[in-house]
Amino acid sequence: MILVNIISFFLLYYLKKFFGGENFSPELKKYFKFGMLGAGILALAGITKIPPKLLFDFLSLALAGGIIFLIINSPELEEQKNLAVTPLPILVVQVVKFILETFLPSYYEVIDKYLAAAGFFAIIWAVTMWLNHRKEMKAIQIERMISKEKERQLFLAQERKEELERLVRARTSEIQNQKEELLQALNHLKSTQEQLVQQEKLASLGQLTAGIAHEIKNPLNFINNFAELSEDFLKEIQEEVQKENGQMDRENLQDLLEDVKSNLKKIRHHGHRADNIVKSMLMHSRGEKGEIKNTDLNALIREYTNLAFHGMRANPNPINVEIALDLDESLKPILLNAEDFSRVILNLTKNAFDAMRDKINGVSSDYKAKLEIRTKELEDKVLLEIEDNGPGVPEEIKDKLLMPFFTTKKGTDGTGLGLSITHDIVKSHGGSLEIQSKVGEFTRFRILLPNSAT
């Protein structure tokens, strides 16, 4: 029976050592404490043989049964339930032994040997079970460790992921800020560019103002003069009509009437002319875009070459220049944004005048400045050439000529945008611009436009 107590003690000790601690409720700990104490006392009592054997045996079995009952019924020991089974056969053998010894001593003597054998097997079985349980427990522990490690790794990974996410968020907002700043800078640049383009427009308008004033003055003078003449003629006609029959000079009357008629026609013509000039001036000063419509390119060239010429003449440092227009009269109207395209003509003629002025100031007096403007209808294109016999363009700056802000003009003479804008306008019409030049001889701007004549 001492064995039962040792087993009881060992069972409690083992469970407490390996599975006790935090997991155990204080109540369970108390059971364990008293259980171990009880087992210890019983074992000692068994050795000293102080209590009567019957009581000792009964208490020992009761304690062992109580412990097994405790193991099976404690939720904290769910996994250790198998352990409760371990000493069960020993206990059964001891119980049987106890019952037989106490109540049927005659039988006991007969099966004592069998009981001893059963007790032996029960011990082997208990040991085997216990070893098994230990193995299982170790496996569970390893599994626990693995899952704990996994959990740790997962936690670390989670932490790392959060750290990365934080970094990404920080970087994203940084990039977002930078993007916003860049966007602002871009918008600023855009509006500056628009302002520059507008300024360039106004600059070319300023250049034209004198030419336009001159151009308007001419038709207005004609209108005034022809109106005044017509008034005089009508007075004369009135006088003639009031003469006596026979004295009336019919021929003179006829002449006067013809003149008045033709004068009125001229007044209308010149009024129309002035009107057009004002219209085109307004077109230039307004910031809005013109519209693409069928346009007589030759007429546009005539009008704006003339304006550019008079503008140049009216501005400081006018030069004498022969303007030769060689326009293909078979050219039908093509689709153009007249407002934009007129600036191509103005810019290129102004550019030519400036170039030729440089040559006039630089070379001997027998140089005659000449500007030639040609149009020609090709199969599916319209060719426009503006050629001056100025100083020409050196090969090394030819490519730069169309770049914004590139200028060979000193000081405030040029914005450096004229040719770049010209190029943009040509491109927006689906056309191409090519510069051909020979230093000292000529510069030729060759523009090819799609022939959209219908």
Binding site: K217, N218, N225, D259, N263, A314, N320
Partner: protein, 125 residues
């Protein structure tokens, strides 16, 4: 008496013809017209001796300017009187014209009464 008017505006012909209608009919004035400096020199050079006695020329014309025409014409036909007409009454043009031997300098819009007086003076000389 022949007077040559040089201007690149075509309607100047009708205008002058009408303005000097009476002088043409009554005082024997004959008006000829050229529409460029070169054409003016051609007309002057085509007559020998030149019949044109007086030239009124615009300054701003494409190609040969009035001032260029003036100095060439004055060199070749010093006896012909030439007056300039300019839309721009700047002193630079005026000085150049006078240096090149111009007789007078009129600004646009042309004061036809002043011009008429000048012409009548020549006609009645």
């Amino acid at each position: 008496m022949k007077i040559l008017i040089v201007d690149d505006e075509r309607d100047i012909e009708d205008l002058f013809k009408q303005k000097f209608r009476k002088e043409t009919r009554n005082l024997g004035l004959e008006l000829v017209f050229a529409f460029s400096g070169q054409e003016a020199l051609n007309i002057l050079g085509s007559e020998n001796p030149p019949e044109v006695m007086y030239v009124f020329s615009d300054i701003n014309m494409p190609g040969m300017s009035g001032l260029e025409m003036l100095s060439i014409a004055k060199e070749r036909f010093p006896q012909i009187q030439i007056s300039m007409i300019s839309a721009y009454g700047d002193s630079e043009n005026y000085n150049k014209a006078m240096e090149s031997g111009a007789k007078g300098f009129f600004t646009k819009p042309v004061d036809f009464e002043a011009l008429r007086k000048e012409i009548v003076k020549i006609l009645t000389k």
